[in-house]
Symmetry: D2
Subunit: 289 residues, 4 copies
């Protein structure tokens, strides 16, 4: 019988001293459990002699059943965008603090890996956003985001004006520092700093959070994740950022179209994963003093 | 061929001088269109000689295909709870300001009615909440809400403590003036005053909004509307309110269980209804000064 | 030479098992330092044989140079209102958690008392509010508050409408659950739960914080503490509360006038008292997760 | 007898078609009232043949008793920083919408000017901030602000970390997009977008408002305007901006010291000026829908 997750890829953040030991531990454990292991190129740079075959990120996505990402939520965000289309399951190992996405600590690896390879885990589907920038009707750039797509002023001292439509209906004309469109995954990231609500990852929703709106009466809006969001930049230059990692400059009258991606991220958690418990721990959310 | 909505019930708020004229106009228009008309008992009190047969609210729900509610959002909230199980479609006529739910004005009645009876309308499904109060494991009261279920302190000067679980997982232990659990319909009502987000009625979601939480780090949480929410009152006395219209007193260790009702409200809007446009007009939401 | 604080009164919360030991310790320490000690009647109830002469709160205020209040912030709030006019200095001993006002713990008593009696302490002046309720132009009740005066709805389900004037100029017409008028001392109490800012106690200011305002565009307002605030209740019944401890019912068109008291509370802190450090500790304010 | 304001300077925004007519009207009116009129160089560019002697901004500040600034709040902000030290009174004429600072409209000029020159006006003192940037203990730049000093991230995608001390006591270590330090004048500008309270200009206070703080428990803090605020930039690059008009780049470990300026701006308003009424009109603050 074929084992669960027969081929497993290891992806890591670059240049972190703690990475090599954790990667080596993972290689050992996975081989003990008779899995084939592949290293992506970044992970391979941690070793003089890589302990497993090295492949590109694309090849890893194509060949693996599970990718284990070693780093933190930022590393996993970065890797996720390349893994979602191949429908590779993703497990995150955090090297530092507990992450929302990377919720296995290095000490837990042997036990958690045994459980997960035996089928004792939870799998969630996380929505990603796809943003396209149109200039004079032509798409000039595009990108994916697991957390958020942010339209932001460039000039520190001047707000921007945006017109937002949801499924072709005007939502608002916003004068603000910017606008965050976040998935439930992103609702505990930048959107929360901007005053947005926490959204259960099990809900198929997006939230639009204005950043420092000029109008007192602005409020975050939560919509279904099947909508099409069109944002038109009125006036000044601005910027679009996906997950805080990919940037496009915007000019006057550029339009940004944001939609959920068809494919979703297969995110693996240890069994008895409790999202709200992690939220309380990470954010000191609603903790009593 | 049977016409659309062959039997139509009229429900109104009590004791409003404007109601009788509007009800009479509706009776005339509906008969012109060959519909059978029934009046509920409250609506009948507006007339010395009621212009249509008078029935109880229950009989009206059982016999009608469409109920037209004349008053405002409050009147419709009140009527909706009795109409949802019979799956009667509901249309709201507002006597004063534009409502979120009652969005036909008296002047528009002839035209809108012609359109709606001809099939030119939008029908939305709105979720209701069902709240049950348990004491020592026994259900001691229960009620429905289209907007919100609110657990609130009784003593003005003392906060209450609540433990909230969502699908049996602890969400938070809250010290606050209270907690609002709102549907998307209720997200533009009391939940908004408490700092909650606006939720698109098309989204199957609920929002939990703490009222004046003692803890600085509290935030509204949006969850799927299929969850079960259990709230346990720790300590002091409190109160539960459904739609601000039905009250139950609560004692120490009482538990409130909140779930979406199985049936949803069939809410009728004129064609080309634009929820966000109404939101902007009613709340001056994100309006420019 | 007369010693600093020659006569010292002890005030306590009632019925707390920890009080008697702490009061006895204080008596011993104060006598070692050759001070005259008086007990107020509540404090005396903790003892079969009170270890010092027992006097009324009024007599204590008249005869003492320093009052030591054993309990918590609530006990000190309660005592402060009776001590401010006699200009008695007040020191707070907290039996439980660190307080904003009661910031000496029982274990620290011997050392702190020695320092304070030797003159090594900080003295702050804290503003109190005086609220008067007028009906048809006649004052029908009045009270003092060290934290806040709160006008609050009575009926859980219905907001109230208030018209607020500051020095005879209209500030706002507010539809809300209520309005908090807080001193800097109160800015870290209920006003903070309502969304108000933290105000440095060294600032002669008041803050007006609406509770769950119906209007999205409402915001807290900070004004100088020398102003006169007039609040007129439009419509429904409501309630006024001083420090959450004294209540008056309000009827339609009642007016509440709020002013700073002429006298201020002389609040004693150990030397090197750091208000912001206490704020961070007590509220987990701006703590990193 | 010397008339009130014998010498009056006119300052304007550049390149606005409406400016020349308003400046010419002012010249005529002021000469009718026997005042000496000076034009600053920017105002002079509006005319082929300037209708009054042209001087530098510095000379204008040195010679005038009153400066009339034609434009909007931004023009007045810009002019104010150069007029405060010479203690010139400042009156603002707004060409477009009503301003907080520029509260005379062109149509009102004849009447208001007559009143003001006859002594029927209100004079307010507005605090300005002075910001100095220190690198390795050496001051490398400095500037003044009537609204606010803002420390802001440079890189859109990455928050900054700041350590803030008030009079040498730690207030907070902040991870955020930035920090706004605002005067009461600035409390209705960017600080309000960031979630700060409205502060009465009559109050000698400053407010610190975090911009999109990472920590949920952050809150604005209001302090007396006599304090010294020291902000240390930990890590990344950032920027300081005064009134959104003057920028300095910041490097790691740079320190920004912010203090109130000794001199205050003499701001002239028409008699019966009502700051809260303007606030309600401009911000739709607490307006009923």
């Amino acid at each position: 019988m074929t084992p669960r997750f027969p081929t497993i890829g290891l992806i890591s953040k670059p240049d972190d001293p703690g990475v090599a030991d954790t990667l080596a531990l993972l290689c050992d454990e996975l081989r003990l459990q008779a899995r084939e292991v592949l290293l992506d190129e970044t992970a391979a740079t941690c070793f003089a002699a890589p302990p497993a075959p090295v492949v590109t990120r694309e090849a890893l996505a194509a060949r693996c059943d599970l990718a284990i990402v070693v780093g933190g939520d930022g590393t996993l965000l970065n890797a996720a965008r390349g893994l979602v289309e191949a429908e590779v399951a993703v497990l995150g190992v955090n090297l530092g603090r507990l992450g929302f996405l990377a919720d296995v600590s290095p000490e837990e690896i042997p036990q958690r890996l045994t459980e997960i390879l035996a089928g004792d885990y939870e799998e969630e589907r996380r929505t990603l956003l796809h943003a396209s920038v149109f200039r004079n009707g032509v798409e000039v750039s595009q990108g994916d985001a697991l957390n958020d797509v942010v339209v932001h002023k460039c000039d520190i001292a001047r707000m921007i004006e945006l017109e937002t439509r949801v499924d072709d209906r005007l939502m608002h004309i916003l004068r603000a520092d910017g606008l965050i469109v976040a998935t439930p995954t992103g609702s505990t990231a930048y959107a929360l700093s901007g005053g947005g609500p926490i959204i259960d990852p099990a809900l198929n929703a997006l939230v639009l959070v204005p950043i420092c709106p000029h109008t007192l009466s602005n409020r975050p809006v939560v919509v279904a994740d099947r909508v099409t969001i069109d944002i038109r930049l009125c006036g000044r230059e601005a910027q679009v950022t996906c997950d805080g990692q990919i940037n496009f400059p915007l000019g006057t009258d550029d339009r940004i179209r944001i939609r959920s991606k068809t494919g979703t991220l297969r995110l693996i958690h240890p069994a008895r994963h409790d999202h709200f418990a992690i939220t309380r721990r990470k954010l000191r959310w609603s903790e009593q003093p």
